[in-house]
Symmetry: D2
Subunit: 144 residues, 4 copies
């Protein structure tokens, strides 16, 4: 497996392109086909009862898969999310980071497909599972 | 079609249970099987380029369907989102409200299924389509 | 709306490319953005109890959307299904044709997105809802 | 992990409840959270070009997950598929068995959620990925 960007490079780049949310997330590891990112859970991500909101779980799934794609394709990638299907299975633990692990299943010329499994730190039971598809503009692949 | 709650009652109730986000949304109409809500697009919902973020579109889909369920079942409903599948089709217009129309397809004893079509105000082409499933706890139906 | 193929042309063409299943389906109407097809329900589509099987419902969703795409793009189209998400909502009626109505939501250069609502003939309540995405090879659009 | 049924018991039971399709599938292994089943690919599962049809891939995903649920809950289970989302990623190899591995992610009182990864025998790259949700009628759990 060849990676085009290191974790610090990815975090700087994602901070430039997603300035509103980059400080919410931290990349833990990039390892073969798996990329792990955490949501640094704060009050703005919660619902009453202390549980992490659905949109925050969606954002984690989208960001960790996006980081996994950038790590492979490099900065040139302008991937666009075309589909996301999430199953919400358990309530995330209150006031705890949420950890998402992305797995790329297909890195095609036009489409990238992968899935993300999410769990609360300290409890490995999955709280949500997402599958995501990204469209890669043709020019991006020519530049790579 | 019998409704259990009016639009003002729904907005007060959703403000109590979702205090963090209730001010982001406004119910436009409830009409037969269709409920229409708008995201009052503000800076915090945007991505660079002025486009509405994926998590904000997810939040609109989830909120408008939730309002549609409450309108039918009343305040007792404690519906939990179990699945959401979204197709992102076009870039939402910059700095424009995003309008979501929810349609309930099945109001079962245990599961409610519906879909949401979203477009930018002033342009009817769909920017996203979501299907959502909610689980209704057994007690909620006994109380209804 | 411009159509490239009539219903008889579509049925002949689909019989050539899907000889194993073409006799199971019949196009009812093509009308604006909506294409309606029926599964001519026979024993081989059933599960015990007389209900239409899941794979048969999947096949109807895929075929009616494919017909809708061909009607628009013509024979040159070599669309490939990349995603299908189905919600099964009610048991289809026993020994009754199943009717699927496809709606194209986006006819993009690379991706086509649409959804299909299915009901048993004589009962308008939806038994299933599918959303589907197709990838269109670049050459197909150049030829159109 | 406790299993309620062995592979031979499962194959006999599935032959009783799905007589039309049971001979198409064979359970390879049940191991912890993973159940592996193969589609014994035959002419009736193919599309022109020798590739396995979409409905046949859907059927494999549904059957292997169903077997995984029965192995856990025993014969009493009357699970109903409520959602299936499939990503089709590569063309399955021609005239080759298709192998699906199901993983149960949540075995809840009312809902079971899992996913299935499929590949052609002899080539580990995934050809399709499905996530599925099943509804378990309340009585089934009381009987277990």
């Amino acid at each position: 497996m060849m990676f085009q960007m290191t974790i610090p490079e990815l975090e700087i780049y994602m901070g430039e392109i997603f300035p509103q949310v980059a400080q919410d997330f931290q990349i833990d590891t990039i390892n073969g086909d798996e990329t792990t990112m955490r949501l640094l859970t704060a009050d703005r991500h919660l619902r009453p009862g202390g549980t992490v909101s659905g949109p925050s779980m969606f954002a984690l799934a989208d960001c960790v898969m996006y980081a996994a794609i950038l790590a492979r394709l490099g900065k040139v990638a302008l991937a666009v999310t075309t589909n996301c299907s999430i199953d919400f299975m358990r309530k995330p633990a209150a006031n705890t980071d949420l950890i998402g692990t992305a797995r790329i299943l297909k890195m095609g010329r036009a489409l990238v497909v992968g899935d993300v499994l999410m769990h609360s730190e300290g409890d490995l039971r999955p709280v949500a599972r997402a599958s995501l598809t990204y469209s890669i503009p043709p020019a991006q692949h020519l530049m790579k």
